[in-house]
């Protein structure tokens, strides 16, 4: 849109938000002094546009302070709280090495030394990913971390776990070695017995490779992001014996999290 072609879709009360040419707006030093110029032309608090509604919903559910806090309650100072992020870190290594494997292809990763090394990084990160995730799961189970409107955090965790198992399973099936052959021929009978062998055919290498490299990592990734955003929006669950102290970030007055608040 050029400065001299008026946009007919623009409603008068939204003009400020859609002006995109510097010629239309006084950007000189008088901005903020002239009461007719909105100091923040991108935001109209009363707008009903979907962008505004989405922004308001996001800001009330997950303001930046809660998304990226720099203080946490005292009880978070324990190694058990590190395992969620360790799981996430292992997942990132899996994604990056998996991308390298996908672009370079099996002729590279099954024969060359750097290929075998990248393949091993991918494999061992998966082992770490599951070890970290299980310790994380045990930790959250024993602290009953689904308390206080956190059921969805637990449920997204469960789904992430199941989707990860599917991703790992299809990964073992695309090794194209005796191990993958053994696994698929053991699995096919079980999957046929429950009646899904026709749709999920473990002997179909193409299907397994596409599920492993395209669909399932995406599912795990999206669920994991949702899971972490839920944790950030709810705040870390307080220990079981301090239910009265529910607040997400250590308050500015320096009160400790173990203090009982009314």
């Amino acid at each position: 849109m050029t400065a001299d072609s008026p946009n007919p879709a623009v409603e008068p009360d939204n003009v400020q938000a859609v002006v995109d040419s510097p010629a239309d707006v006084d950007t000189g030093s008088s901005v903020g002094l002239d009461p007719t110029v909105d100091p923040d032309p991108g935001i109209d608090p009363s707008s009903s546009m979907w962008t505004s509604r989405l922004r308001r919903a996001w800001m009330s559910k997950l303001p930046p302070d809660e998304l990226l806090p720099d203080r946490q309650p005292a009880y978070v100072a324990s190694w058990i709280y590190v395992f969620g992020v360790l799981t996430l870190a292992a997942f990132l290594v899996i994604l990056v090495t998996g991308l390298v494997l996908a672009f370079a292809g099996p002729a590279w990763y099954h024969t060359s030394s750097p290929g075998l090394f990248t393949n091993s990084l991918h494999f061992w990160s998966v082992q770490l990913f599951f070890v970290f995730m299980v310790v994380h799961l045990w930790g959250k189970f024993w602290m009953a971390a689904w308390r206080g409107r956190r059921a969805m955090t637990w449920i997204t965790g469960v789904v992430a776990f199941l989707a990860s198992i599917g991703t790992a399973f299809t990964g073992y099936l695309v090794q194209t070695n005796f191990d993958s052959q053994w696994i698929s021929f053991e699995a096919k009978d079980g999957l046929n017995a429950v009646g899904i062998g026709a749709f999920f055919n473990v002997a179909n290498l193409g299907q397994m490779l596409l599920l492993h490299a395209c669909l399932l990592p995406l599912v795990v990734g999206v669920i994991a992001v949702w899971h972490v955003l839920l944790v950030r929006s709810r705040g870390v669950v307080p220990p079981i014996d301090t239910v009265d102290t529910e607040f997400s970030v250590t308050p500015a007055d320096g009160a400790s999290a173990t203090e009982v608040r009314p």
């Binding site: 203080r71 324990s78 190694w79 395992f83 082992q127 070890v131 045990w138 191990d179």
Partner: protein, 53 residues
């Protein structure tokens, strides 16, 4: 030259049988590692962050 493998993943694993329980050594090792990690995560003191008093 034959490569040296840290873990032989091309041969069947050794299994431990204890009554009805049958478990491969690799699986047993992983489960033990997870239990040890869990115990350490609970017991080890967490380093103090920067002091912000």
């Amino acid at each position: 030259m034959d490569p040296i493998y840290l873990a032989g993943v091309n041969d069947p694993a050794t299994y431990i049988n204890w009554g009805w329980l049958s478990i491969s050594v690799p699986n047993l090792i992983v489960i033990l590692i997870m239990i040890v990690l869990f115990a350490l995560a609970i017991l080890l003191p967490f380093p103090k962050g920067r002091d912000r008093s």
